[in-house]
Amino acid sequence: MEPLRPTFWNIPPVLQYGVYLFTFLTLIVFLYGTYRRIRLWRLGSEGLEFHHVVERLRRLFLYALVQLRLFKECRAGVMHICVFGASIVLFIGTALATLDYDVTLPLMDIRLLRGVVYLAYEIILDMAGLIFVVGISIALYQRHIQRLPRLNGDWKFGFTLTLLLAINITGFIVEGLRLAATQPTWANWSPVGQAVAATFRTLGSSERTMRDLHLVTWLLHGGSALLLVAFIPYINLLHMITSSLNIFFSSLRPKGALPFVRDLDRVVSIGVGEITQFSVSELLSLDACTQCGRCQVVCPAWQAGQPLSPQKVVLDLRDHLSMVNRGTSVQGAYQKVGQQKIRSDIHLVGQVIRPESIWSCTTCYACADACPVLINPMTLIVRMRRYQVEQADIPTSAKRSLEDTLCLGSPWGQPRSERTAWIGDLPVRVLQSGEEADLLYWVGDTSAFDIEAQAIPRAMVQVLRLAGIDFGILGVAEQSDGEASRRLGEEGLFQQIARQNVELLSNYRFKAILTHCPHIYNTFKNEYPEIGGQFRILHHSRFLLDLIQQGVLRPTRPLGERVTYHDPCYLGRYNEVYAEPRRLLHSLPELKLVEMERSRDDALCCGAGGGLAWVDISNGQRINYLRFEEVENAEVRTVATACPLCKMMLCDALGYKQLEHKVRVKDIAELVLETRPERVS
């Protein structure tokens, strides 16, 4: 007898028709639920972007199919691939069964699932079912037995996972009972089913019992499966739909470029005050959250006990969105929720999100980098900050730094004439308007005014002179790059300053701009082009490495120290520059480089980004003290930095912990200078 799929074995015709009826009902409920969510996303202000399809498909492949980011935590990656992969196989299996019985058979009198095809089908599906059970078991274990801190152990998740497990196990029982009762010759092609069948045969059940049990289990299996599918859009399984969508529609802007506001003088409102001011893709991203908790555990503010959790921001916004529904118009749209009416024009910050939460974000990008489905909580926060700035509802220290940037050209509140005080007696060429140099060295605010950071340009100009580089600085004509203002939400100030800088730079001739600050590097590279400023910008880590590797400079004095390197967020995570600073340090004689617990893309922020160098914390610890503990654990003599703000923050932590006699904080330029480099003729 040829192997053939015994569709609907032991199922009376009434129930067979029932399957189709309930599948139809399931589909209605599923589609309605999906439609309701789509309706909510469409409340957003800007539509979806469809351009650059190839790149979007590439992301879909990497993050939705291969699920690259999930494997940062190996076991979770394995778990999800098992569940995901097995689900797809099982779904295809069901589709094939439907095709076989309801399409090809009645229309063409052909059965697909027969012979070798059927045998392959059986074994593949059995294995898939087994893999699925393994995956779900890992998930249940992680969340509810081991209780991983990043995972929410709420019973809702346990219920869904258990239901999934039950569906699969009842499936195996149904198969096993059928195999035990019918005993086909090809039964061994369903190994798991055979194992279950063997159990029932050992128990000595009669065929009558097995048939009855089969029917009951089949009803349970089918019913719970259809129920689960119907409720996918209503529970956390919605991520099955939204995750891929979010990955596809994720922003294609460079990581370091915040959303741009065009025609600022004509736009009435900027930023997000109410939920409907988010774009459609941002609202979609709220629904893509799987509550995996990775963003929360990597957030430096969260780790320092400050009142910010990126996951909570996303979920609070999502819950608020769920309670809003479209009436006849968006303005004053109401929805009855119990006895309460929820309006769509509720102001988010203060009523849905705590103000302290959005003002605790250092924009370090750890959350966006960690999210497996490419949600960017940081952008949501900055967009809310923009609205708060418009409402003048910002921390006082932020207000002062913004006013100083506008008035005096830097958030430090020092007059422009003080910008060159760091030079001291060093011979530095200050370029006048119209002059030319190979390299324009943009010093930056922090290094002009902060005493610890002043050591960096002092070291750099000495190294540049030793290397015989033709460079000049702007001197007192230099002003803030506008980056910190933009991170604080003052988009108008950023655009104004950026345009002024682009115009200023048009008065000089140079081949490239050199900077030692990753914030300046990032904003010139990724944000100034939109303002109309296209410049070749170099970070000094790369430049110094080139000087040594290309044989222009040769270090002569060995350092003889244990050194660790602190990755700046704006150089590392944002611009993926991890190797050059390390290669630079390796090229310095007798320098032993050790890595801290968290480095490269896992590195902990120093706490100064996002404009927070000028805003004090509301609660919790200081992030830089937290990071410094890792420096201490690395047991090094020196911690090397490549950012003036990082240096400033780590020096502050050093002073607080009173470890100046044990540890030094030095920029890579300072370390290069310490090796007494010589010009190689």
């Binding site: 003048a392 913004l402 008035c407 422009r416 988009e491 108008g492 100030l493």
Partner: protein, 288 residues
């Protein structure tokens, strides 16, 4: 029928940048690559008070300034902060009006407007004379309350109750009928932040530009600037504290130069009688 508020503002140099004095020309200049001008801090507080009146009563707020063409920037800031209109009395740099002339210029324009309340900063960052407000009140024949830190306007009763700052943290509350003029101290409130975007939106807002009356029509300067110099700390005479004083008092004596006893008190009576007393006081001490 709404409340209308005039706010007098002045553009001053930002004092945080290094300054230099041109001795011969009696000019104070900034030693900076770009000149930095700001709105006088006390005027900013006055405007902020006006804005809370706008929020409460829907008052119309008109900002007015007398200064060179660059002073229009200050009116733009006022518009961005929520003022409805701006009035700019163009005074070329050379004119350099003193307090009395400034008050005259302002009063000429203000008389053309309808107002219930005139607000000024109590003193400016650069001259610090604090005279324009009181002079303006006299020219407009308005009751005045100076150095206000808190304001309550009762529109129905056409009056205001102002808390003014006295020395050593003392306050007094004054009830005053409207229309009136008040001067607001820089400690009255914390002015809100105004984003660049808001400034952009009101860039084309309403500013009436008026030329000043031709020279000669305005009265001559009452004051002539004789010289400007850097501040020199005055030496304090500190007598030796007596041995019978407790230690805490002795330390206060040494640190703060002794305890001053103020003569006189608060005179209660009519304004004319008070004026006579003041003249007598000044004559006795050789000031007049």
């Amino acid at each position: 029928m709404g409340v209308s508020v005039m706010v007098c503002v002045k553009q001053v140099m930002d004092a945080r940048v290094p300054l230099q004095i041109l001795e011969g020309k009696n000019l104070v200049l900034q030693n900076e690559p770009q000149p930095v001008y700001i709105m006088n801090p006390a005027d900013r507080c006055a405007l902020e008070e006006a804005m809370s009146l706008k929020q409460r009563f829907g008052a119309e707020v008109v900002a007015i300034t007398a200064g060179p063409s660059r002073a229009e920037e200050v009116l733009r800031i006022c518009l961005a902060r929520g003022a409805d209109r701006g009035v700019h009395i163009l005074c070329p740099q050379e004119m350099a009006p003193d307090a009395w002339s400034t008050a005259l210029l302002l009063s000429e324009e203000i008389k053309k407007q309808r107002y219930d309340l005139v607000m000024c900063g109590d003193k400016s960052l650069d001259d610090g004379g604090g005279q324009v407000g009181p002079a303006l009140a006299e020219l407009l024949d308005l009751p005045q309350v100076t150095r206000v830190v808190a304001l309550e306007v009762q529109v129905e009763h056409k009056r205001l109750i102002a808390q003014r700052l006295l020395e050593r943290g003392d306050r007094e509350a004054i009830e005053c009928p409207l229309p009136a003029l008040i001067t607001v101290t820089a400690s009255a409130n914390k002015p809100r932040y105004v984003s660049v975007h808001r400034c952009l939106l009101v860039r084309n807002g309403l500013v009436d530009r008026c030329a000043p009356p031709p020279p000669g029509v305005v009265a001559e300067r009452l004051c002539q600037l004789s010289s400007i110099s850097w501040p020199r700390p005055r030496p304090r005479k500190i007598p030796t504290p007596g041995r019978d004083m407790p230690a805490a008092e002795r330390m206060t004596f040494l640190m703060f130069g002794g305890q001053t006893k103020k003569e006189g008190g608060i005179f209660e009576g009519s304004a004319e009688a008070a004026a006579d007393l003041v003249v007598e006081f000044l004559e006795e001490r050789g000031f007049l």
